[in-house]
Structure formats: structure tokens, C-alpha cells
């Protein structure tokens, strides 16, 4: 015999969601992108990044 914790006519009466086991989902993080650790255009940064505009690496690591 099952018992309900909410009274008859209460907010949960007949409307309880079935139990769903918690799930762990992982989201991929790309460390070098996330920490601004690379440059997309030339692999370097600063004044030596000749592939970037006007001696500056203005194209970020995408």
C-alpha cells in the first residue's frame, strides 16, 4: 500500500513527478582557449606576431 505525504486534494495529489536519478553531464573546456594562452593567427603574441595587424596580435586565440 502506498502512502502520499500530501493530504488529499493537496498540491501534490496525483501530480508528483516520477523520480529521476540525478545525472552528471560534462561540458568540454579547452584550457588554452579559456586562459588566452594561444594566438589563432601566428601562435605567438606581442610585438613579434608579424602575422597580426600592425605588429600587434589582435586576432585572439579562437
Amino acid at each position: 500500500m502506498s502512502q502520499s505525504t500530501s493530504p488529499p486534494g493537496g498540491p501534490d495529489d496525483g501530480k508528483r513527478k516520477p523520480y529521476e536519478k540525478p545525472r552528471l553531464s560534462q561540458v568540454a573546456l579547452r584550457p588554452q582557449e579559456a586562459v588566452l594562452g594561444s594566438c589563432k593567427m601566428s601562435g605567438v603574441a606581442g610585438p613579434a606576431s608579424a602575422d597580426c595587424t600592425d605588429l600587434s596580435c589582435s586576432t585572439a586565440g579562437s
Binding site: 553531464s25 579547452r30 589563432k40 601562435g43 606576431s49 595587424t53 589582435s58 586576432t59 585572439a60 579562437s62
Partner: protein
């Protein structure tokens, strides 16, 4: 007081200002041999050198961590390290092309209102004006300023539609940000805020999306802003398809496309709180798209209201 910062005397030196996402930075030097200019797309964000959130002084020097500095964070790719020296943050920048010695460092006082940049003279061309905030320094300082309760930088392209709605297309490398920006390019009334980086801020109950100077292969960058209407998490697909995402998952996936100071617990906490607020305000969907003009019509038809 920042260690190594020279005492300024006399009239205000020349330089330039930047306004990125409403955050103002001034860059000046008291050394007449140093010419300062914003280059590339940073020039689009140039402004006066008046009242700024951050004042940066630039000079020649010997960039180094400092004898008493503690390492706080290492980017791992050989580009930058962050040290704590007597309560100040110091970013030390290196490049494989320039050898193991740092070519530049930048020391910020604890409030991040004042900074001193030291440049290694031999790596810069003599008598050529320079931009002392080359990547990654410009983004690093902005990421830290944003994390102090101001906003968050997202790895995304930002579009303003012809009827003034802000659409954010987020994704890691290869997801299609520049491809998507190029599809919108040239459409009537459309503005591309960036094909690579946008900044989100919550101001007056509105989530604003700002353009940044940091572009992708499309070299698309604009200093405008627009209220954010919808977030699309990009992936390439054989057919156009939009799928709703639960708020918690949306926060996690946008966080994976965000730039935050990973060494700073308070900054991380603010970033996650802001992302939760953003997702509560703006619908977030996964967008599998086929890279042709049909994708634009598909997006416009999928927008609410």
C-alpha cells in the same frame, strides 16, 4: 603604490584612451621617445584620455616577475604568467619568437585602477609608435576588470539584426562563429559587433551585448552595443535545427565559452552568477546549422515574438 612605477611630474603626458564595453582605459607615457597609438581594430575603440576606470603608464624597463613575487597562475602555453608582488598583480609576457626573457610586464595595483607597463626596448622598432596592449595583455586586463562586478567576455560572434535585436552565437574554436558572422555580413541593416569576442553586461535590468576589438578571421569588430535577445550555442550540422537547453546546462556551456580569471574565486563566482542572470533573461538554444543563407532565415523565424 605600484612597485617600479615612476613618479610623474609636470604636464600630463600624451597617449590614448580606449572605451571597450563602456570601460575606459587610458594609456600614457612620460617618455618622449615612446609614441603610443592604438593599432588595428583597437583604433575603432579609441577615445580621449579623460576620466578612466584604469590608468596605464608605459615605459622602457626590464620585465621580470620580481624577486619577491609569488606565482598565481601560468597560462601553460608560454605566453603569460601572473604573479603577486606585495599585493599587486603582475602579468609577465613571453613569446617563443623573442626567447625566454619576458618582452613586457604589466603591474596592477590591488584596485585595478592604476597599472605600469614595462617594455623591453630591444624588441620594439626605434621611433615607431607602438601599441603597448598587444594580445594577450589587452584581453587579460579586460577580463579582470569585467570580473570585478562589471560583466563577462564570451567567445562568440555578435550580430545586430536589421530590426535591432542582439543575437549571440557562441562556440569554441571551429564551431562556426566567423562562418555565421560572414553569413550575416551585407544583410540589410545588420551590424556585426564581432566575429570572435563579445562582452555581456547587466545594466538597469537589461543584458547588453557589446562589440570588442578582438576579431577572428573575418576581422569584424565594431564598438556598438545592443540589448541581447537570444543566445545560440553553435555547432555545424547537415540541416538547420534549434534545440532548447535547460538553464543549468546553458550556464555550464556558456561558461565553457567564457573568459574568467581562473585564479580568482570571487571573480569566478561573479561570472557564474552573471551567467545565471543572463540565461534567466535571454533564451538559450543549441543551433545546429548548415552554412548557407538559409541559416539566417531559420534564425529569424525561430526568434520569439
Amino acid at each position: 603604490m605600484i612597485p617600479g612605477d615612476p613618479v610623474l611630474a609636470g604636464p600630463r603626458p600624451s597617449g590614448f584612451g580606449l572605451d571597450i564595453a563602456g570601460i575606459r582605459v587610458t594609456v600614457t607615457s612620460e617618455d618622449p621617445a615612446i609614441g603610443l597609438i592604438p593599432t588595428g581594430t583597437a583604433a575603432k575603440f579609441a577615445t580621449s584620455t579623460e576620466a578612466a576606470d584604469l590608468d596605464i603608464h608605459v615605459g622602457w624597463g626590464s620585465p621580470s616577475p620580481g624577486a619577491a613575487a609569488d606565482l598565481l597562475f601560468d597560462s601553460g602555453g608560454g605566453l603569460w604568467r601572473l604573479y603577486n608582488e606585495r599585493g599587486c598583480h603582475r602579468f609577465v609576457l613571453t613569446s617563443p619568437v623573442l626567447g625566454p626573457a619576458p618582452y613586457q610586464d604589466a603591474t596592477f595595483d590591488p584596485s585595478y585602477r592604476h597599472a605600469h607597463v614595462r617594455l623591453r626596448r630591444d624588441v620594439f622598432l626605434p621611433r615607431v609608435p607602438l601599441y603597448p596592449l598587444e594580445y594577450p595583455l589587452d584581453e587579460l586586463l579586460m577580463v579582470h576588470l569585467l570580473s570585478q562586478g562589471r560583466g563577462i567576455e564570451i567567445h562568440a560572434s555578435g550580430i545586430v539584426t536589421g530590426d535591432g535585436r542582439g543575437l549571440l552565437f557562441a562556440g569554441q574554436s571551429g564551431a562556426g562563429k566567423t562562418t555565421m558572422a560572414n553569413l550575416w555580413r551585407g544583410q540589410p541593416g545588420v551590424t556585426i559587433l564581432s566575429d570572435e569576442r563579445v562582452i555581456l553586461r547587466s545594466e538597469g535590468g537589461v543584458i547588453w551585448m557589446y562589440g570588442t576589438p578582438w576579431h577572428g578571421e573575418g576581422r569584424l569588430a565594431s564598438p556598438g552595443r545592443v540589448p541581447l535577445a537570444q543566445i545560440f550555442l553553435l555547432r555545424h550540422a547537415p540541416e538547420n535545427r534549434v534545440m532548447p537547453i535547460a538553464p543549468g546546462t546553458a550556464v555550464a556551456r556558456i561558461f565553457a565559452c567564457s573568459f574568467t580569471p581562473f585564479h580568482d574565486a570571487a571573480g569566478l563566482e561573479f561570472s557564474l552568477r552573471l551567467l545565471s542572470e543572463i540565461v534567466a533573461h535571454c533564451p538559450c538554444v543549441e543551433f545546429g546549422f548548415r552554412p548557407d543563407d538559409d541559416a539566417i532565415d531559420f534564425v529569424l523565424q525561430s526568434l520569439p515574438g
